[in-house]
């Protein structure tokens, strides 16, 4: 193989170098574009996370568990039974108007507007039954002679009211119950169904 003259060799090297430089510039440019794209993706991701955090705050889930919310409610009810209903503009009502217990039938006065269910408890803390009852309803439950207290929950299942049955001798109350005695409990709207 015959050697090329030095002038031709130099021109070829220059052309290669130029081509390499061109390619290198393209690589660098591509990397910058990629880096910019990566940066934009990261910014978008962080914006999404920020939006999610903001939305989660708008629909906050209470950091307190069910048992802790019950403690809050009981404290509020005890304060009410001491005659305290908040101060400095706060109005805290935790007590339910005492439901009447007549001959084993428990009758409620109209439930608070945000009520969704009522739970009956025995004195030892055992749960007797849970019934669905919306705000404004006047449910009654039969065959619950040993109910010690009742708790009203809202639609989220959070406890919102506490009530202590008022035992009334049969024939004393003027509030009609009209419910037939049954071996299980049920709820209705101020009348038998």
């Amino acid at each position: 193989m015959a050697d090329k003259p030095p002038g031709e060799q130099s021109a070829a090297a220059t052309a290669v170098n130029e081509r390499l430089l061109e390619l290198l510039e393209q690589v660098v440019a591509n990397q910058a574009v990629q880096a910019t794209a990566n940066l934009q993706d990261e910014i978008a991701e962080r914006l999404r996370a920020a939006v999610q955090y903001r939305d989660s705050r708008d629909h906050a889930v209470s950091p307190l568990g069910y048992d802790q919310l019950q403690i809050e409610l009981r404290f509020m009810a005890l304060s009410n039974s001491l005659g305290r209903f908040g101060s400095h503009g706060e109005r805290d009502v935790g007590l339910l108007p005492a439901p009447e217990l007549i001959d084993g039938t428990l009758s409620f006065q109209p439930l608070p507007p945000d009520a969704a269910s009522v739970i009956l408890f025995r004195a030892d803390g055992g749960q007797l039954i849970e019934i669905d009852a919306a705000g404004g309803e006047t449910p009654f439950v039969t065959d619950v002679p040993d109910v010690a207290w009742v708790q009203v929950n809202n639609i989220n299942g959070d406890p919102i009211r506490l009530g202590f049955p008022q035992r009334v001798p049969a024939g004393v109350s003027g509030r009609p119950t009209g419910a037939a005695r049954r071996s299980h409990t049920r709820s209705g709207n101020a009348g038998p169904t």
Partner: protein, 438 residues
């Protein structure tokens, strides 16, 4: 209890938060009816009748103390009933003797914790009204009272400054303990290890028989533990939103403090001790609290009105001026503290905050829809710090008297070995560091 009764007159079901207590009707009621209504309230059981919520009922030392000391049902509900109820047409003055059921009957009413009486009596309210009554009864150094004030004065003297009717639950004074004020101081000393900031009127200097009689069993650590609890709760409130840094909040320690305080208080109540004394004290103080809670006839006659949004402490200060007795400087804080601390101490005694999870409700604020417990504690911390000067919110500050008083509430290290033999039991020293500074 009398503030409760005034509220019941306006709100018999106790569920209308905006109801305004009807003090005028209550003060117009005959004292024998009021005395009998107290019997009915006692028979209701108070916190002893409060559901135990699945845990052992530890109220009042022995919940049976109420039933064993009450008037028999037949007597109380028949010839000795109070006749206090709201007629269908609304309250009238003077109130009629109404048919049963009496107000509050069937409701699970509670009476205040003894701390309520202690904090209120620390204002000097009993001494001021004792002098007001004395002046009304023996001379004319005050302006002539209206008929409403005259009726109030008669009822106040009958209910609190003479022996109550025989065999009634409020009848504490006897030949063995003739002074109702000394009886209350004895109860405060045993439960809280603290005396009132002012001396007992008429007592010789340094004479404090209520402490001598109590023996060496007073809860002298109560204030130390209570203050430590407030400090820990405030630390929890401060760090409630702390998600990144070191969080010094310790729910277990808060629960431990509540448990210790509860055990300490229950120890003084074993077998139902102090139940009657507590009931009598809180009823007496609630009467005078109700008198200055609004612009009642007494407040009007003594020219001490403070308007619809006025403070009881302002009215008390003005009444004190009429008779030459100044109330405690921090009376404003004490009035509000009395209302706030009472349910908290009941809950502590009932073991409701003795688990770390439940103790968290004392300081969890962030994200809680209605943090009624934590909100109450924040207000208590504010008022306690203002009333006592104890820097609860400043974790870097420790009051020097606490270090001098003995060991801190939480030991920083385990004991190195067996403790030295205890010194012979002696009477507790006179509490020089009262909870409040008059």
């Amino acid at each position: 209890m009398f503030r409760m009764l005034a509220r019941l007159i306006a709100d018999p079901t106790l569920t209308t938060s905006t109801a305004v207590p009807d003090a005028a009707t209550l003060f117009a009621t005959h004292p024998i009816q009021l005395s009998r209504w107290l019997e009915e309230a006692w028979a209701g059981g108070g916190v002893a009748n409060w559901p135990a919520f699945g845990v052992q009922n530890v109220a009042l030392g022995d919940p049976a103390v109420v039933r064993r000391l009450q008037l028999p049902d037949g007597l109380r509900n028949d010839t000795l009933r109070s006749g206090i109820a709201v007629p269908s047409g609304g309250p009238v003055i003077p109130p009629d003797f109404e048919p049963p059921p009496a107000l509050g009957n069937g409701l699970t009413l509670a009476w205040d914790h003894l701390i309520y009486a202690y904090l209120l009596e620390s204002t000097g309210i009993v001494e001021i009204f004792a002098e007001v009554l004395r002046r009304y009864l023996v001379g004319e150094t005050l302006d002539a009272p209206s008929i409403d004030t005259l009726v109030w004065a008669r009822a106040s003297e009958e209910l609190f400054f003479r022996d109550p009717p025989l065999f009634h639950i409020g009848g504490l004074t006897s030949q063995l303990r003739p002074d109702a004020r000394a009886i209350r101081r004895n109860a405060y000393w045993r439960m809280f290890g603290s005396d009132l900031p002012h001396p007992l009127p008429g007592a010789a200097a340094g004479e404090q028989p209520w402490k001598r009689d109590a023996g060496a069993v007073a809860n002298t650590r109560f204030l130390e533990l209570w203050t430590e609890l407030l400090r820990q709760v405030w630390m929890g409130i401060e760090n409630d939103r702390n998600q990144v840094g070191t969080n010094p909040t310790d729910p277990s320690y808060v629960a431990y403090l509540c448990q210790t305080l509860g055990e300490m208080l229950r120890l003084r109540r074993r077998g139902g001790m102090l139940a009657r004394e507590e009931f009598s004290a809180v009823t007496a103080l609630s009467w005078f609290h109700l008198t200055v809670e609004s612009d009642t006839a007494v407040v009007h006659d003594l020219r001490a009105t403070a308007g619809g949004v006025g403070n009881p402490a302002d009215r008390l200060a003005a009444i004190g001026q009429r008779v030459g007795i100044a109330p405690a400087r921090h009376a404003r804080e004490l009035f509000e503290l009395a209302d706030l601390v009472s349910p908290v101490l009941w809950f502590i005694e009932l073991d409701q905050f003795s688990s770390p999870a439940n103790a968290e409700t004392l300081f969890r604020i962030f994200g809680v829809v209605n943090p009624v417990v934590a909100r109450t504690m924040i207000r208590i911390v504010d008022l306690w710090q203002s009333a006592t000067g104890e820097r609860i919110k400043d974790s870097a500050v420790r009051a020097p008297q606490r270090a001098a008083a003995g060991t801190p509430a939480q030991p920083t290290r385990l004991p190195a070995g067996p403790a030295p033999a205890p010194a012979p039991a002696t009477l507790s020293p006179n509490g020089s560091s009262s909870a409040v500074r008059a």
